[in-house]
């Protein structure tokens, strides 16, 4: 990680731009989508949990 990570605008206290992600949803056994706009409309909290790669520990 020689260059490090640069934050491109998501600072604590600021609004997160809307985003969409394709998902695999184990509770449905199917692919789906997560959309921040929809989550906001549903008045839900969102917790994003990034990790380096599948088949490693999180």
């Amino acid at each position: 990680m020689a260059n490090g990570c640069e934050c491109l605008g998501c600072n604590v206290g600021s609004k997160v731009p809307d985003f969409k992600l394709t998902t695999y949803d184990p509770s449905k056994g199917d692919f789906g989508e997560v959309n921040l706009k929809t989550l906001k409309k549903d008045k839900k909290w969102t917790i994003l949990f990034f990790y380096p790669a599948d088949f490693t520990f999180v």
């Binding site: 997160v16 992600l21 184990p26 008045k43 969102t46 380096p52 599948d54």
Partner: protein, 130 residues
């Protein structure tokens, strides 16, 4: 618990499926596993490692109005403490309902002492938490 937990890596949804079906410790996983193969979301949150194309271990809590309230980033070799994530989430829920209060460092759960800033509290935090 009133929140959508989404795990995110730069793997595709197909690999997520294979991993979740293969790895015994993931058999009870219920949350959606997000796919960010371009790293765009990881870049947005400042956790994308250009050198490896992977995301660092970043955890972010976003309120229902879309405000980022907590950010924690660990390097590859350190896992996260889920109890601490839950503590932060519960504190957020409490503070959303009691907007004039603050949760001090040792706040763990409902019923623990909070602080309400006032002239009286200045210089008396220790006493207020006793």
């Amino acid at each position: 618990m009133g929140a959508e937990i989404v795990t995110v890596s730069t793997d595709t949804q197909f690999v997520h499926l294979a991993w979740q079906r293969d790895e015994k410790s993931l058999e009870n996983v219920k949350y959606p596993m997000g796919s960010d193969p371009t790293g765009n979301l990881a870049k947005m949150f400042g956790v994308y490692d250009e050198e490896t194309g992977l995301a660092l271990r970043g955890t972010f809590i976003i309120s229902p109005d879309g405000t980022l309230l907590n950010a924690e980033v660990n390097y590859y070799n350190m896992g996260r403490n889920i109890d601490e994530l839950m503590r932060k989430f519960k504190a957020n829920l409490h503070l959303a309902r009691h907007t004039n209060q603050g949760c001090p460092a040792k706040w763990k759960d409902k019923g623990d002492k909070t602080l309400t800033p006032s002239a009286k509290l200045v210089g008396k935090v220790h006493e207020a938490l006793e």
